[in-house]
Amino acid sequence: MSFFALKTPLSAADRIGRRRLIFADTLSLVTLFAITALLAVLTNYLYQSYASHQMALAARWLQRGEQALRDNKPQAAVDALSSALAYAPGDRDTAIKLAEALASAGRIQEATVYFNALLESQQGSGVINLQLARLAARQGNESQAIEDFQRAIYGNWEGDGYVRRREVRFELINYLIANHRLDQARSELLVASGNAPTDDITVQLEIARNMEQAQDPSDAFHVYRTILHHHPSLREALDGAGRTAFQLGRYLEAKHYLARALDLPATEADADESAVAALRQSRDQLNQASQILALYPSSRLKPAERDARILSARTLAMARLTACVNTKAAAPATPTAAPAPKVSSNPLQSLASRFSRQPSKPQGNQAAAPPPIDPLQGLVDRWQKLPPKVSSAELAKNPELAETQIQLIYDTELITQQVCGAPTGDDALLLKIAQAPNQVEEE
């Protein structure tokens, strides 16, 4: 069959009809296109108007929510932020604020679920992990909180990531200190210290303060000294250095820093209550440090003065030991304990008589156990081995005796503190020296 035979034979009238049909169809399609275009324009106008209204509503409710959060009205904030989120469903910041509001409103479980949901869509988000950490902390879930804090520190932060990570680390450190996880806190502080810029005084001060709270005065003292290296007259650093030096037993340095701090002119900030309390503490510590240094038989002193201090300390220590032995003897003991003998004129003899009594024999078939070694007895024995009276001349002649005396004085203070409790007055100062005698004048 030929190609032409395939064509339908049309009459002239048919051809006209066909042309009309084609024209009518073309006109219909053009009209349809025009209607579609018109509808598209109209829809676009409606949609743009709707979308801008949605955005306005979202912004309005977000503003109300933020205001409610600032006004500490978490429930109102939850309602407002929920509405804001309904008009801007993909807005991450609004979602986070809503979750924060839920947490503030005490709806911890909902907030946790919300943050977890946010986290699923934004794996590794620092902000969300931080909020989850705070929620876990509020729920008392320590391990989860620490884990979330760590994730927040190593998570993604926008823009000021370095600063935010440091802030989160400080928050973690505070949390660890508050929960008595001091070892972990110290580890985090060392990392924070290593990462912190040396010229940022605020950060360095915060690290040092946190180190003090984490019972790490040594590192804290080091940080304060670093700060003072750059800012020698910074009151907070001087206070901190003096305070930590005092804790470390470095009384010479403590006195040095505290005196410098107290010599600085008062500022307006010193008027508030905490500053006044801190000032008082600094003064007390300065006084104590001065008194300790006045008692301390430093090798830097002239021999006569040093010997005089040793003799003075000897008298104090012996009195302390006598008082402690008497206190212990007066205390109700076992029924077989003998009454305390009269104190002789020589205190060492008197003490010896107290400890020379034989221990009671075991009764019945009780096994004869060796009697426990009394630390006071050991002290008394050591005192008895020394001459009952020592003069400055003897000490000057016999430096070895001086050292033995000093050591015994320190041991007496340490042991009596263990047996009879904390001393007061000069004994207390001697005790502080005894705890770290080599550091008293360390610089």
Binding site: T8, R18, I35, T36, T43, Y50, S83, A86, P89, A117
Partner: protein
């Protein structure tokens, strides 16, 4: 205009569907030019226009649906405020006022707007040659937007489907297409409307195939896909490509979780039964009330929905997409979720039964999501050993209710996959949906749309039955070749001599491998007209038998059985090799057996 279908106080006239005015249909038919004339002048015109119009329909439907959703949201903000909360008095009164306005509009101006839109579209397809009037489309748009925006517990998807079908109907009518084509355009527009409303083209196509057409049809499928995709492209131009819900990370975390999904499937089946029973009970009773009550039913429904919202559950108002989103992200307690599911059933039953225009897709998804999230949250709390994600339960719950309530199992699976974009959840979805579907089927014989059809006095085809109907093929009626077979090179004399006296028919195998069948009468007339030594292949008529294969539909043989007494069924792989033969008696006998 006659409104016999929806005349208040009267029972619906059997055979007349709500939403279609017979007078309008008749008027429309009167002004149609002669399609036969058009067909004669341009035989391929309809076919060419069909695809072009499918795109136009998709685009226009998409634009209409965007406008529809914008209108709903505007009305919602204007009437209920930008942040509805329990205790606001407007929640109490606005739905009632809107209900009154909608009732007046439906009763006096837009009687065809009543209902969800699914059955109206089916009726347009099966009864009215795809006809949906402009008035119905406009009425559906206005009244549904008012009702949904005003807080009624209804959804925009079903009305969008009808709006799309209406757009298709209007466009195709203006171009004087043939009746067959006009009828096809209704599902094309329906798919476009639903796809735009759902932002999920595959689910929309599957729904239209499962629930509106009932069978896969290659002739219309291409156009449905074109229009659905066109409409979704338009909708996404405005709304963006994001799915309707923020889908959480959804994974199947262990085989033991399947047990929990089984529980969800059973619960979904029971919930859908409750929902279906409530609608099936209340809808006909409210429709049979006196005429004046039709003006009161919607306001009272609005008052009840408003009361639910006022006293603590504003989430049940409107489609509730944002609530589904929140539930999917585990922001509610299991008790609250369960309460929302139950109250949504109540609110939707009242809203829909009162005749207020609006759809049931969104409420179904809402109930499913709440139920799923509730079960997920419960299991998470009380069975911590199960590694459960509440979001996945809400998602599967939506599919479960979809499968069990709307009874569209295939759509329900794809809907979840398409909405979530995550194929790792396919196993729990299939498991839970199948269980829910089976539970629903065993407890409720008719799907909900079929129930409504019966209540309206209509007799539309049951899509569920159609889907499950086994299609007969030629192989089902095949019988062995027990006829005498002669080569085409045999002479008439040889054939006559060899053919037994009792053989009524014979088959001739020609040189080119084709076959020819004849009965004894034809052989006798050939013998009388031709010399005896004439070869059989020269003596027979020039026409040839059709090529038929065992897998073809059984009815494909019927047109040829008036000409041929017996039809040889050939092997597809080996030309000329017979699998068997069929006669008219075989075909009819097979149909009668069925």
């Amino acid at each position: 205009m006659s409104t016999a279908t929806e005349t208040p106080g009267m029972k619906p006239v059997p055979g007349v569907v709500p939403g279609v005015d017979p007078v309008e249909v008749a008027a429309e038919r009167r002004y149609r030019p002669n399609p036969a004339e058009v067909q004669r002048l341009a035989p391929n015109r309809d076919e060419r226009l069909f695809l072009v119009l499918s795109i136009f329909i998709g685009v226009i439907s998409g634009l209409m649906v965007v406008c529809f959703r914008v209108a709903i949201n505007w009305i919602q903000v204007l009437t209920l405020g930008s942040s509805p909360h329990p205790g606001q008095f407007r929640l109490f009164f606005v739905p009632m006022g809107v209900g009154l306005l909608v009732a007046v509009l439906v009763q006096l101006v837009f009687p065809g707007a009543r209902g969800s839109g699914i059955n109206q579209t089916k009726a347009a397809l099966y009864i009215y040659n795809g006809y949906i009037s402009f008035r119905t489309v406009l009425g559906k748009f206005i009244t549904s937007a008012l009702a949904i925006g005003g807080g009624f517990s209804l959804g925009p998807e079903d009305p969008s489907l009808q709006i799309g079908a209406g757009v298709a109907s209007m466009v195709s009518r203006r171009l004087n297409l043939s009746r067959e084509r006009l009828r096809m355009f209704a599902p094309i527009g329906a798919a476009a409307g639903l796809a735009a409303a759902f932002n999920a083209p595959i689910s929309a196509i599957l729904f239209v195939v499962e629930e509106v057409i009932g069978r896969w049809s290659a002739a219309v499928l291409g156009s449905i896909v074109l229009s659905a995709i066109s409409s979704v492209v338009v909708a996404r131009w405005f709304w963006g490509a994001e799915p309707m819900f923020r889908i959480p990370v959804v994974t199947l975390r262990g085989p033991q979780e399947l047990l929990a999904y089984t529980v969800l499937g059973v619960a979904g089946g029971v919930a859908s039964l409750l929902f279906s029973k409530a609608l099936g009970y209340s809808r006909p009773r409210l429709r049979n009330l006196p005429r004046w009550t039709f003006y009161v039913q919607s306001p009272v429904a609005g008052l009840i929905v408003g009361a639910i919202a006022f006293f603590g559950f504003p989430q049940v108002m409107g489609p509730g997409y944002n609530v589904i989103d929140q539930a999917m992200h585990g922001q509610f307690t299991w008790k609250f979720l369960l309460a929302l599911a139950l109250l949504k059933i109540v609110a939707t039953t009242i809203s829909f039964s009162s005749g207020t225009p609006g759809g049931m897709f969104a409420p179904t998804l809402f109930i499913g999501a709440m139920l799923g999230a509730s079960i997920g949250t419960f299991e998470k709390i009380f069975f911590p050993a199960f590694p459960i994600s509440v979001g996945s339960y809400a998602l599967v719950g939506m599919g479960v209710l979809f499968a069990a309530f709307l009874r569209v199992p295939l759509t329900s699976v794809f809907m979840v996959l398409e909405v979530s974009g995550n194929y790792s959840i396919v196993l729990p979805v299939i498991l839970a949906n199948t269980i829910a579907y089976l539970v629903s089927r065993s407890l409720q014989p008719y799907p909900i749309f079929e129930t409504f059809t019966h209540q309206d006095g209509l007799d539309l085809p049951s899509m569920e039955e159609q889907r499950e109907e086994s299609v007969l093929h030629l192989e089902d009626a095949l019988r062995p070749v027990n006829l005498p077979v002669f080569p085409g090179s045999a002479t008439l004399e040889e054939v006559t001599a060899q053919l037994g006296a009792d053989a009524p028919m014979l088959l001739v195998k020609l040189r080119d491998g084709s076959w020819y069948s004849m009965n004894r009468g034809e052989l006798t007339s050939l013998t009388e007209a031709q010399p005896p030594d004439t070869l059989l292949e020269r003596a027979i008529q020039p026409d040839r038998m059709p090529l038929l294969f065992p897998d073809l539909p059984l009815d494909s043989a019927i047109p040829y059985l008036s000409r041929w007494p017996v039809l040889p069924i050939q092997n597809r792989a080996s030309k000329g090799i017979l699998e068997g033969v069929v006669t008219l008696e075989d075909v009819l006998g097979r149909y009668q057996q069925k």
